[in-house]
Symmetry: none
Subunit: 204 residues, 2 copies
């Protein structure tokens, strides 16, 4: 009667659990399976109740349906909680650390997908800038850069990640490691792109 659906999205702990199960499943399989399969995923025996759950997640903005009726995730589905208090902070922390704003990592790091590439970092010539061997550089392809930018330049037919600087009117490429020499290219300097982000994955 009172046509308010009181089903709360994340205030409801059960639905939060179902959502996280679905998120983990999707991370594995990149698809949302049938209601029958979701029964196993959720630990539930009733298809109709699974549908009720997904309907609520849709209302809460975590799922959508295609014109064909297929369930698909939304941006909110992929968003990760951002802990409120930074690692070490001066404030005492309440356990509700996961109660903050959400965001999607890709959107944070990539403004223009068509111009952005990921390049694995090789070597430790930029280690003093906190860029390690094995890190992945997020690079926005363009030909101009500003002094102080970390750029991907092409020197002697090789990619090089260095800080762009100027010395006596000449552009130079400065490594962040005293063991490496400053590169002073004769003639023109070909810039491939500018470093806009960095990704590191720790082995587990």
């Amino acid at each position: 009667m009172t046509d308010f659906d009181s089903a709360t999205p994340e205030s409801n702990p059960k639905d939060a659990e179902y959502l996280s199960r679905l998120q983990d499943y999707y991370a594995d399989w990149k698809s949302i399976p049938s209601y029958a399969s979701l029964c196993e995923v959720f630990g539930i025996a009733s298809k109709s109740w699974v549908k009720a759950i997904l309907d609520r997640l849709e209302k809460a903005g975590y799922l959508e349906r295609t014109p064909d009726g297929m369930w698909i995730p939304t941006k909110q589905f992929f968003a990760r909680p951002l802990a409120e208090s930074s690692v070490p902070a001066g404030m005492p922390i309440t356990v509700s650390a996961t109660q903050g704003e959400h965001f999607v990592i890709d959107e944070m790091l990539i403004d223009t997908p068509s111009k952005t590439t990921l390049i694995p970092v090789k070597g430790d010539s930029m280690i003093d800038a906190g860029i390690h061997d094995g890190d992945v550089a997020v690079v926005e392809k363009r030909m101009n850069a500003n002094i102080g930018d970390i750029v991907v330049a092409i020197v002697d037919n090789e990619f090089t990640l260095k800080t762009l600087d100027k010395e006596r009117g000449q552009f130079i490429l400065r490594p962040a490691n005293q063991a490496y020499p400053v590169i002073r290219p004769q003639g023109s300097l070909e810039i491939f792109g500018v470093l806009t982000g960095l990704i590191r994955k720790y082995r587990r």
Copy 2:
């Protein structure tokens, strides 16, 4: 009879066209629809032929099937080679760009979304490990860790990002900065999670 399927994946221009149509569709809808819908996507009238195409794309490594028989994309489905012209000789970099907008990076850094939190890093106590002030730590919440892991621990009601180590049978938290002291917690050590990734965004 000769049971070799000669169907070539990308050497076949038709299949390449079908693949890119499917990639575009997936970028829009994040799902692979039914054969009937794919008929429209491909501009084809026959379901059986659509199945034949997907079977070939599977054999070529672009698609997989779940145990339930659902089609799902593979990593190769998302991969994109860098333009030949800009690849310098002698350096066989396999650069892959972000073709779809979502979860290329997300997927790389996050295995279990439900247990993963993002925490902004404050301070420079881990700077020798290449973790800077303002970086965002990707943390997988769990209570146990191994020696050598970089962990988020709770010390005196504060989050702390340190390397977990052991000294004379006692767990200690080691900073990566000589200006900071080693933390030797008396009694138990509460671990919030383990660092599994790091994100840095450069101002533009």
